[in-house]
């Protein structure tokens, strides 16, 4: 009979393998390191995992990571009553936040319309967005979704749903990447950059 690692080791490797970007060999390597390297701290790791699992939850208003009912962003009083920026995922919020130029609130949908993965409007936080709009009266809704097929479709769907509310509705510009020259851009990127042009005076 062929020998293998003991069952608890295999169980650990199986769990590691479920992580994104980890294949069977990496899983085995990480498990070996965790169990045999003197710098590994498997106890602390497992404690940190369970603490994080119980302490962190989505903000009930915007969906960002929170330790309380509301996240740190929603708790800042100066941010209310301004723009609401709609993003696909909670992880999209920090990059926007780091630009330092947005001072309103966010709303993470928790994904985008993806019929091939059986994700429709009911699976996204669209109803809670509509409720927020009624009570929070934002001055503008900014749609900041991806520029691929499903992101575009989700933007179009939200425009259909939200336009009747009469709140100014904008979408972020898509076009040439900063520092990119025209000669390297493909036709669709150029078309979008053209259709998204704006008067020079607005600058």
């Amino acid at each position: 009979m062929a020998f293998d690692y003991p069952a608890p080791f295999l169980q650990l490797a199986r769990e590691l393998r479920r992580l994104p970007g980890i294949g069977p060999r990496s899983a085995e390597r990480i498990a070996l390191w965790l169990l045999s390297n003197k710098d590994a701290r498997p106890g602390q790791l497992s404690a940190a995992l369970s603490t994080a699992e119980t302490a962190i939850r989505p903000c009930s208003r915007c969906g960002f990571f929170a330790t309380d009912d509301l996240c740190e962003i929603c708790l800042q009083p100066a941010r209310g009553g301004r723009e609401i920026c709609v993003v696909e995922l909670a992880t999209d919020i920090l990059p926007l936040e780091k630009t330092g130029s947005f001072r309103g609130l966010y709303h993470a949908l928790g994904g985008r319309l993806a019929p091939l993965d059986h994700i429709g409007p009911a699976q996204l936080r669209i109803e809670s967005l509509q409720k927020r709009l009624l009570t929070e009266n934002p001055v503008e809704i900014i749609l900041a979704l991806s520029a691929d097929v499903e992101g575009e479709a989700t933007t179009n769907y939200l425009v259909e749903i939200l336009e009747p509310l009469g709140i100014p509705l904008t979408r972020i510009a898509h076009g040439l990447p900063a520092g990119g020259g025209l000669e390297h851009a493909d036709q669709i990127t150029l078309l979008r950059a053209l259709s998204g042009r704006r008067p020079v005076a607005e600058r």
Binding site: P115, T154, Q187
Partner: protein, 348 residues
């Protein structure tokens, strides 16, 4: 020009190395020795797609979890790692994030016995033929094709499930944007290919056969209008009824439908003419011939067509040819030949 190629855990090979010549390189071998897999490896390394399968994962050697291919093309070192976790591309050892940059290194034309399906088979094979060319010579083609396929499949899933109209129509703008690009690009490709295929067919048939190819578009006029006109039909059929997914290439030989009226020999000639046209178009737009991969096509051709084909191949192009026997070819001094036996290459 491809100067060297290494395969690791690709198809039936654990490790194989080959140094093709600048002109014609013959790979000899019995059936099922893996000759085709060497050509396939070249195509996958240079173009990131196999002409034999759409599931690249099935080219990983049985029992392994990844394959590696690498080689030098025009002094650029290409390296490709592929596993179920994804693929990594390197140019001169630098990881490449943009597929377009990697694909800009080399162009390929592929000839195989299965090309007969271009004449006899359904429209999907002819669309793949146009796509293989479009991806290699039109910027934005690959991106639009992927976007269109995604938008179309999403939209059809919604139609099939009878979802509300506004959910379906949310996918219309991306479908139309990519669809109009594809419709136009394929029309232009057909126009460019028509005279090239016509003259290639005359060369292979010895001047007898007149081949006429034209584009049968999957939508008349702008896609947005065509979608509006076919709304009733699409609701009834529960799928998108117009668009480039219904594009086709019309093939007429001496004025008659090639699938129905041409002989088998003529049909093989048409298939070759289509592939030659592809190679010549690539040469015209790139200012240099693509690498030609000929997979075992000579066995099925009569000697006259064989020699006419060899004479019609773009001169000065690097050509790699698999075959079971070589006695048909008049060897030229600069030809290189290898024999593949038991997974190893030896000089022949």
């Amino acid at each position: 020009m491809l100067t060297d190629l290494r395969l690791r855990d690709f198809r039936c090979f654990d490790a194989l190395e080959i140094f093709p010549g600048p002109g014609r390189t013959f790979v000899l071998g019995e059936n099922a020795q893996g000759k085709t897999s060497i050509l396939e490896a070249i195509c996958v390394l240079l173009r990131l797609q196999s002409p034999r399968t759409t599931a690249t994962a099935e080219t990983i050697r049985f029992g392994r979890d990844r394959f590696c291919l690498d080689g030098h093309f025009s002094e650029v070192h290409l390296r490709l790692h592929y596993s179920s976790e994804g693929r990594e591309m390197f140019l001169d050892s630098k990881p490449q994030a943009r597929t377009e940059d990697y694909l800009d290194v080399a162009r390929v034309a592929w000839f195989a016995n299965t090309d007969l399906e271009l004449v006899r088979g359904g429209g999907s094979g002819r669309r793949r033929y146009l796509d293989f060319l479009g991806i290699q010579c039109l910027p934005g083609y690959r991106k639009s094709l992927r976007a269109y396929e995604k938008a179309l499949r999403s939209r059809n899933a919604l139609l099939k499930d009878n979802r509300p109209r506004r959910e379906i129509e949310a996918f219309d703008p991306p479908l139309i944007e990519a669809g109009d690009f594809l419709l136009g690009a394929r029309r232009r490709l057909c126009e460019a290919l028509a005279p090239l295929a016509e003259s290639a067919c005359r060369e292979i048939s010895g001047g007898d056969d007149a081949l006429e190819i034209s584009c049968r578009s999957g939508a008349e006029g702008p896609l947005a209008e065509a979608l509006t006109h076919t709304r009733a039909e699409e609701m009834r059929l529960r799928q998108t009824h117009v668009g480039p997914h219904r594009d086709d290439l019309k093939l007429l030989l001496n004025g008659r439908d090639a699938a129905g009226f041409a002989s088998e020999g003529q049909q093989r000639g048409i298939a070759l003419a289509l592939k030659l046209a592809q190679a010549r178009h690539l040469e015209a737009v790139q200012n240099r011939a693509p690498i030609l991969l000929l997979d075992d096509i000579f066995g099925e051709l009569d000697p006259v067509r064989r020699n006419r084909l060899l004479a019609s191949l773009p001169p000065h192009s690097q050509t790699i040819i698999t075959t079971t026997f070589l006695d048909w070819a008049d060897r030229q001094p600069q030809d290189i030949a290898f024999r593949l036996v038991g997974g190893r290459l030896e000089n022949a």
